[in-house]
Symmetry: D2
Subunit: 295 residues, 4 copies
C-alpha cells in the first residue's frame, strides 16, 4: 500500500479519495474548504495544511480541480505542490486543463527530479459510485507502470494513452462529445414529444436504442427532472468545449458540432442557467421551440 | 408458430427473416431481386411471386424497404400488400419512412379490416447478429400484444411507443443522433490524432469513455478502415436526417446539430462518397483539416 | 405600349402592377381577394374574372404569388393561365418557386405555342417604392428581348441570367443571404448592446460600415422596432430557405450558414413569431441571450 | 495642421498615413520594416526611430497593427508609445484588438496625462483608395471633438460610438459579418453554378441584388480569381472571429453564424490556405461540394 495525497476534494476528487482509502492506501488530503473533507477525515484521511504538505507526505500526489488556473493555484508558489515534490515522487493531475499547460508543468516537475502524469477520468458521479470509471493516462510508460496499481483502485479501466498531455487531450476529445450527444438527444426527445409521444416514454424508448451511450443513459433522464445539484454544470462544460475549440484552432481541426453546441451553452448562460447541469441544453432547445420546461 | 411474410430481404430485412425462420415460424418472402433471397430459400423460406401473394399467405406480413416511395411501391397497386390483406391480418412496416405516410397507410389498412403497426428496429447488422435489436412499435395496443410473440423473435427488447406513426417518429429521433454522434466522435478522433496520438489508440481510448454508445462502439472503428460494404450509407443516412428536419419544421423544433451534420453528409456526397457508410463523415472532416484519409 | 396582365396583387405584385400602369401600359389584373385590388382598379386597371381571362386579354401575363403551390393554383385547371395562353403570348412568373416546377411549366407553356420567362425581383417594398428593383430573367434570349421594354418599367436593372429556371435559382441564391445577413447583423448588434452601446447607436454605426447591404440598410433598423406589417415574414423566408436547402441537396452543395439560420427561423415559429418580419431573428437571438425584445 | 504620428505602415496604415500627408499634416512614421515605408518617406513623411520617438514628436499618434499582442509591442517598454506620451497628447489606436485591452491601455494613457481613443475603420484597401472609409471612435467626447478634423482626413464618415473600447467592439461586431456574408455569398454562387449558371454570371447578377453590401461588392468577384496578395487573410479574419466569439461568451451572446463560419476558416487553414484572402471560403465550400477551384 502507498502513501497517497489528494488535493481537490470536490464531488469527483472526494469520491476518488474515498476509493483510495477503501483500497487500503494511506491518504493525506487538502481542499480549499476543509469542511467538505470532513466525511473523508472521519473515514481515516489525514489532513495536510497546504498542497505542499500533502506532496511532502506522499509518494504519489493527485489533483482534481476546476480548470487550468486552479491547477496553477495548487501547484505554484511556496505552498504549492511543486515545492513539496522530490525525486522519486509522482504528481498525477486528474483535472481537465490545457494540454499545453500540462506539458509545461511536467517539465517543471522533471526539474525537481519527480515525475508527472496527466490522468483524467471518464464518467460522472454515478460512474464513480458504480466503480466503472475509466482512467486515461499521459506520461512516461515506466512511471505509468509504477503507479498503475494505485490507479486501478480508481477505475477498473486504465489506459496509457501517450506522453504528457495526451490523456488530457483525449479527455477533451471525449468531453466535447458529451455536450453534443446531449443536445442531439434533446433534439430527438423534443421531436418525439411535439409529435405526441409523452416525454418520459420518448426517453425510455430512446435509451433502448443504439445511441444510448453510458452518458446518455445516466444523463438523458435529467430532461424529465433536473438533479438538485448539477453533476457537471454549464460553465464547466463550456470550459471544456472552449479547450476543444482552442485545440481545434491550434491544430487546424474544424469542429462543426462542437461549435454549434457551444453556442447553445452560451444561450443557457444567457437564459440564467449557468449553474445547472449541462443537460439543461434540453430546456434551451425547448424554449426555442415554445415548449415549457420540465418542472 | 405463425404464418409470417417478409417483403424486402436486404441486409437487415433478410437477417430478420432468418431470425423468424430460426424461431420456427413459417416464412414466405419476396424481394425485388430474387437471387438475394437464395440463402433464405435454401433455409426453408417459401417464395411469394408478389408482395400481394406474400400478404395472402400470411397472418402477419412485414416490410423493410428503403424509403417512403419504396413502401408505396410494395403496398400499392394490384400486386401490392394492401390487395392481399384481409380482416384479422396484421401488416407491420419496419422501414424508416415518413410518419405522415405511415398514418395514411394505417387508415387504408383499416379500411380492408386489417391492422397495421410501424415497427422499426434500432441497431445495425452487428446488433442483429448479436441478437440485440430493439423493436419500437406504433399502433393499437391490442394488436401489439397479439403480434408481440413474433416481434420478440426479432429483438429481445420490444417497446410499445404509442399510436401509428409513433415508432417511426422515435426511430427518426434516434437516427438523427447516429449521424451527429459519429461526427462528434470524428471531431474528437481528429483532435487527438493531430495532437500526436495514433488514430487507433485514440479510437481505443475513446471507446472506453462514457460517450461510447453501442453505435459508436461498432461504427467508431470504421475510421480506421471502412467496411467493404456500407452498413448504412450516406444517402440512406441523409434520407433519415431529412425526415427529421422535415418533422422539425412541421412541429417547430429547431434541430441545430442535425442541421449542421446534414450539411456534412451533403459534403460527403459532393466528394463522391454517397455510397460509403456514413462513418465516412470522418473522412470529410479529415479532408477539411488537411489529414489524409484512412486507406 | 403593351396589353399586360398581372395575377397576384399583393404588396409586391400590386406595386409592380402600379408601375406598369404608370408607364402607360394597359393592365388587366386578378387577385384572390378583389378588394385588395381596388386602388389599382381606381387607377385604371381592368379586372379579369379568372387568371385565364387575364391571359386571354394580354400579350404578356405576369404572376407573383406565394409559393410553388400557389403558382400551380393560378396556372392550372380550366380557369388557369395556361388555358388562356396562345401562340405569341408570353407568361412571366415573378414568384419565388421551385426551379424544377418552373422548367416543367415552361415546357407546358411551349406546348400551347406561347413562351415563358421566370423573372423574380430583388428587393422589398421600399426598393420598389424607390424604383430600384432589379429583375432577373430566365428563358429564351429572344423572348427576353421582346419583353425587355416592359420589364424595364418594373426595375431599372434587368439581367438575362440563363435558360428557364435560372433566374429563380439566382433569386433563391440571393434570398438565402437575406436571412443569413440578418442573423449575422443581429449577432453584431447584440454584442454591441450587451457591451454597453445603446442599440440605436449600434445600428447607426453598423449601417455606416461595409457590411451594410441594401437589405441590411432597410431591414436592420427593424431591430429597433418592428413594422406594423411584415415586409417578408418568417414563414415566407423559411419557404425560400427550404428551396435553397433542397437545391443544395439535389446539387450536392453544403450550405452551412443557410442551415444554421434556418433552424433559428424554426425557433422563431416555435416562439410564436411566424407572421413577423423575418428580422425578428434578432428577437430570437435576444431571447437566447437573456435580453428583452424591442417594444 | 497637426503634428501627427503613425505607427504600423502596412497596407491600411500606410494608406491612411498617405491621406494624412495629402491633407497637409506633418507626419512622423515608424514601421517594423522600414523599407515598406520608403514611398511615404519619399512623399515627405519623417521617420521616427522608435514608436516612442514618434509619440514624442506628435500631438496625435496613431497605431494600426495586427492584433492585441502587436499593440502591446508598440505601446509598452522603454521604446514604446506610452513612454513618449505627455499631457495634452492623444493616442489613437486603429487596430482591431481586444476591447478589454483597449480599456486597460486607456487607463494607462490617462496616468501619464494623455488621452486615448480607439478608432478602427470599416473598409478595405479599395474603400481607402476610394476615400470612403468610415471611422468609428471610442473615448471621451471632448477628446473626440479635438481630434475630429484629423480623423476627417481619414474617412468622410466619422462616428463617435461611446467610451473607450466601444469603437473596437463595433468593429468586431462588423467584422464577424464580413466572414459570414462572404460564406453565405459563396453558398449562393455555388448553388447557381452547380445548377448550370456560369460562375461569372452568377456573381454579376447577385451583385445586382439587395444582398450586395459594399464588402460583397468588392470581395465577391474574388471567387472568380483571387487577388495576388490577400486584402485580409484567413488568419487575420479568424483573429477577429475569435475576438467576437470571446466577447460573445463574456457577454452571454450566442453567435450561431459566427461560430459556423469560423469553423470553415479553420478548414481553410487545414487546407493550407491560411495566407489567402478570406474570400477563399468559397474554395473551401467548393472543395466540399466537389467543384474545382477558380484558377
Amino acid at each position: 500500500m502507498a502513501e497517497v495525497g489528494y488535493v481537490g476534494l470536490g464531488v469527483m476528487g472526494g469520491g476518488i479519495a474515498k476509493r483510495l482509502l477503501d483500497a487500503g492506501h494511506a491518504v493525506t488530503g487538502w481542499n480549499r474548504t476543509r469542511e467538505k473533507a470532513q466525511p473523508l477525515l472521519d473515514g481515516g484521511m489525514r489532513w495536510g495544511d497546504t498542497p505542499r504538505e500533502v506532496a511532502e507526505r506522499s509518494e504519489i500526489v493527485f489533483t482534481m480541480v476546476t480548470n487550468t488556473a486552479a491547477v496553477c493555484a495548487v501547484t505554484d508558489g511556496p505552498d504549492g505542490i511543486l515545492a513539496g515534490l522530490a525525486p522519486g515522487k509522482v504528481y498525477v493531475d486528474q483535472s481537465t486543463a490545457s494540454p499545453d499547460n500540462t506539458r509545461a508543468l511536467a517539465a517543471r516537475v522533471a526539474e525537481v527530479g519527480a515525475d508527472m502524469l496527466d490522468a483524467p477520468v471518464s464518467g460522472s458521479v454515478i460512474t464513480l459510485e458504480q466503480g466503472k470509471l475509466s482512467v486515461m493516462v499521459g506520461g512516461d510508460e515506466d512511471v505509468f507502470n509504477r503507479v498503475l496499481p494505485v490507479l486501478e483502485a480508481i477505475g477498473p479501466k486504465v489506459f496509457h494513452v501517450g506522453p504528457n498531455g495526451a490523456a488530457v487531450t483525449i479527455k477533451i476529445a471525449s468531453n466535447l462529445q458529451l455536450a453534443v450527444q446531449m443536445l442531439a438527444f434533446s433534439e430527438g426527445v423534443l421531436l418525439a414529444e411535439k409529435s405526441g409521444i409523452p416525454r418520459a416514454k420518448a426517453v425510455e424508448v430512446l435509451l433502448g436504442t443504439v445511441v444510448a451511450s453510458p452518458m446518455v443513459t445516466y444523463r438523458g433522464p435529467f430532461v424529465l427532472g433536473q438533479p438538485d445539484e448539477a453533476w457537471f454544470n454549464v460553465n464547466m462544460m463550456q470550459k471544456d468545449m472552449i479547450l476543444a475549440l482552442e485545440l481545434g484552432r491550434q491544430l487546424d481541426v474544424p469542429l462543426p458540432t462542437t461549435a454549434t453546441t457551444n453556442e447553445l451553452l452560451t444561450a443557457a448562460r444567457g437564459m440564467g442557467l449557468a449553474e445547472k447541469d449541462f443537460s439543461i441544453l434540453f430546456e434551451v432547445l425547448a424554449a426555442m421551440s415554445g415548449v415549457g420546461a420540465a418542472s
